[in-house]
Each structure stands twice: as structure tokens, then as C-alpha cells.
Assembly symmetry: C2
Homo-oligomer: 238 residues x 2
């Protein structure tokens, strides 16, 4: 094999990894949407399907991890190629955990709809869930198009999902205090709200890895303002 051939093979490897991450991301997004639908409708078949499909999410993670290790061992990547692979390794961990949260939401939905005598408070969790889905989609988009501006938007949206979570939590606590019969189902909904908020955190993590991939600078833990500055900085200008 000549050098050019090896290099084309390597590009195909990297492209393969990227495609599989996006497929995993699509599956995880679908899990989250279906879990929220199940929570609303009480459709037990759908709820059970979300719970069962989590195995598929896990399989994606394990297979992608192995594929990343193989590419590193065979191709000995450096610089941006290595950053791409490390971004994949980290992204799939967060996607798997979003999958776990979707499964937890489905389990809460099962608990809520199975108890026929329970008093369920009317608190709408769609607003935070819609922000979380939008964040996940945009983070995957940022990864697909190497778009650091989309990354910055995801980080900004994390504040929105946090405040939508807090609003829902306050409502739920009010319900519990006014009618102790709602405590049990309010708690289930509170944990759903918490899962949604965590999904936002994971989407934020993914979008931060994309900045690292494109810019070569680790922007975790530095705060929104510093990250926005980094995103605005022209490439190759330290």
C-alpha cells in the first residue's frame, strides 16, 4: 500500500466513526422523544420499547469504543485526527448517559401510569424537554459540521434548560405541599425534570468537545463568556 492509499483508508476510518456517532446520537434523541411521549400518553408498549432499546444504545457505545481503539492502534493519529478520535470517545460516553436518562424517564412514566389510584399533578415537562432535545440536536449538528458557533448556542441554552427545570421543580414542590397525596407522583415527575436537566448538561459537554476538536483548546469548566471568546477567535491565532 502506498502512502496515499493509507491516508485515504484513514480518512474513511474517521468518516466511519463520525457517521456511527451520528447514528448513535439519532437513536438517543429518538429514545428521549419517545420516553417523553410515553410519559404523556401512558402508552405502555411505547414505554417498554424505550426501556428495551437502551441495550442498543449500549451496544453502540461498546462497538464505537472498540473501533476508536483500533483506529488509534493501526493509524497512529496525531493532531486534529487524534482530537477527532478522542472527541468521539468522549461524545459516546455522554450519548450513552443521555440514553440512560431516557430509560429512567421511561421507568418513571411506567410507575406513574401503572398506579391507578395516584393523584398526578398537572405539571408540564414539555418546555424543559423541548429545550433538551433542541440542545442535543444542535450539539450533534455542531459535531457533524464542526460548527463552533452551534456549540456556543448549546452552552447558552443550558441556562434555559436549567431555569425551565427550576420552574417545574417549584411547581411540583407547591403541589406536594398543598396536597400530600401528590407527593409520590410529584417526586417521580421531579426526577424526570432532573433527568431532562442532566441531558442538557450532557449535550453541553458534547458541544464543548467540538470546540476542542476544531480549536484545539479545552473549553470545559471555563464559563460561557470565556467560551464565547474562544469561539469568536480566528483559527490559528492563539
Amino acid at each position: 500500500m502506498n502512502q496515499e492509499h493509507i491516508s485515504r483508508q484513514f480518512d474513511a476510518d474517521l468518516e466511519g466513526l463520525r457517521t456511527r456517532v451520528l447514528a448513535m446520537g439519532g437513536l438517543v434523541e429518538q429514545q428521549l422523544i419517545r420516553a417523553m411521549q410515553g410519559l404523556k400518553s401512558g402508552d405502555m408498549a411505547q414505554i417498554e420499547q424505550v426501556i428495551a432499546t437502551d441495550r442498543q444504545v449500549n451496544r453502540h457505545e461498546v462497538e464505537l469504543d472498540e473501533a476508536c481503539n483500533n483506529v488509534i492502534a493501526r493509524r497512529q493519529p496525531a493532531a486534529v485526527d487524534l482530537r477527532m478520535i478522542m472527541t468521539v470517545v468522549k461524545t459516546i460516553t455522554d450519548l450513552e448517559r443521555i440514553g440512560d436518562e431516557a430509560k429512567k424517564i421511561a421507568k418513571m412514566a411506567r410507575d406513574i401510569h401503572r398506579g391507578d389510584t395516584r393523584v398526578v399533578p398537572r405539571v408540564d415537562l414539555d418546555p424543559p424537554a423541548e429545550i433538551a432535545v433542541a440542545m442535543l440536536r444542535k450539539a450533534l449538528d455542531a459535531f457533524a459540521r464542526l460548527d463552533v458557533n452551534a456549540s456556543a448556542e448549546v452552552v447558552r441554552q443550558d441556562r434555559e434548560v436549567d431555569s425551565a427545570y427550576k420552574a417545574a421543580a417549584r411547581q411540583l414542590i407547591t403541589f406536594m405541599m398543598e396536597d400530600p397525596r401528590t407527593i409520590s407522583s410529584s417526586l417521580d415527575l421531579l426526577f424526570v425534570a432532573r433527568s431532562i436537566e442532566r441531558i442538557g448538561d450532557h449535550a453541553k459537554n458534547i458541544s464543548e468537545y467540538v470546540v476542542y476538536l476544531v480549536k484545539g483548546r479545552d473549553v470545559r469548566h471555563i464559563g460561557l463568556e470565556a467560551m464565547e471568546q474562544e469561539v469568536a477567535r480566528p483559527l490559528g491565532n492563539p
Copy 2:
């Protein structure tokens, strides 16, 4: 530089990564212990210190990630050496998230002890916290000594921490139902209990990476029994 020299340098690199992971693990363990002490004592100086020290945990993560990338780019590791580095990359993500949970516990402790009129239920969270600390310690030990039997013990203990969490949650829900004035502080304690349970999950993740490192097989998501079989299997015997 001759081959032997390079190889010794490489060993020193790997040893350096291992040592730094253990230092980060020690810091995270200390954070968890101090957060739980703060919850009990209400010592505000200690609580604030835990919250402030989370930055140090984050710094460890960022620096270790960078060090791993440098070692991969310079040494082009394969087989067990590459597995070691990938184990470090994954382990530090879980350690950082344990650090986040410790910080959340400290924030809950601050909320609970700041509100002087609040009725706080007497539910002891030391039992689950002690299991979680023991799991974290054992997972770090498994990593330090490449001890897959210790890994299996951690996975077994995850069941204990889950049931200690559930017992605490049941008690807290009873308090809330009997005295709605306790709802607010019971919820804070419930979230602390939930953080402890998650710390157990992270310790379990770390111990699973050690099995992967030593045995070359990914044992995540396969269940306790299958993992125990894998741990019992002699090395090099597929």
C-alpha cells in the same frame, strides 16, 4: 535515543499518568468525605471549601486529558499500553463527575444549614455514603494494583448502595407525607442520597474499565454474573 531508552521513557509516561489519576482520585474522595461531614456538622467554612476545591478537580481532568493525548501522539501505543491510556481517559471523566456530585452535596448542605426555620428530618445518610466511599476507594485500588477481583467487589457493592439509597428515600418520603413542613429539606436530603447513589455508579464504571484494561474485554452493560465469570477466567484464555 536508542529503543531501550524510548521504552523506559514510555514506561515513565504511563507511570506518571497512573500516579496522577490516583492523586485526582484521592482529592475526589476527600471532597466527598468533607461534603458529607459538612452536611452533618453545618460547618460553613468546610462546606464552602468543598465548593471552591471543585476547580482543582476540574483542573486535574483537563491536564490529564492533555497528558494522555500527548502520550498517544508521541508514543503511538498499542495493545495494553493503549488500553491503559484509554482507561485513564475514561476514569478521569468519572472522577470529575464524582467531584461534581460532592460539590452538589456541599451546596445542599449549605441550603439545609442556612435556613434556620426549616424542619430537617432525622434521616441518616451515612450508611449509603460510607458504601460509596468504600466503592470509590476500592475502584482506585483496583486501578492501582490492576486487581480485577477488587473490581468485581465494587460491582457487587453497587447493589448495596442502591438499596441503602432506596431505604433512605423511603424514610424521607414518609417524613414528607407525615409533616409537609419537612418537604423542602427532605427533598434536599433526597437529592443528596441520589448523588451518593450516582457516585456508586461512577465507582462501578471505573472498576469496569480496570477489567477491560487487564483482560482486554469490555464488561460494561453485561451484568454482574457475566462480569464475575470474566474476572474468574484465566488471562489469555478466551
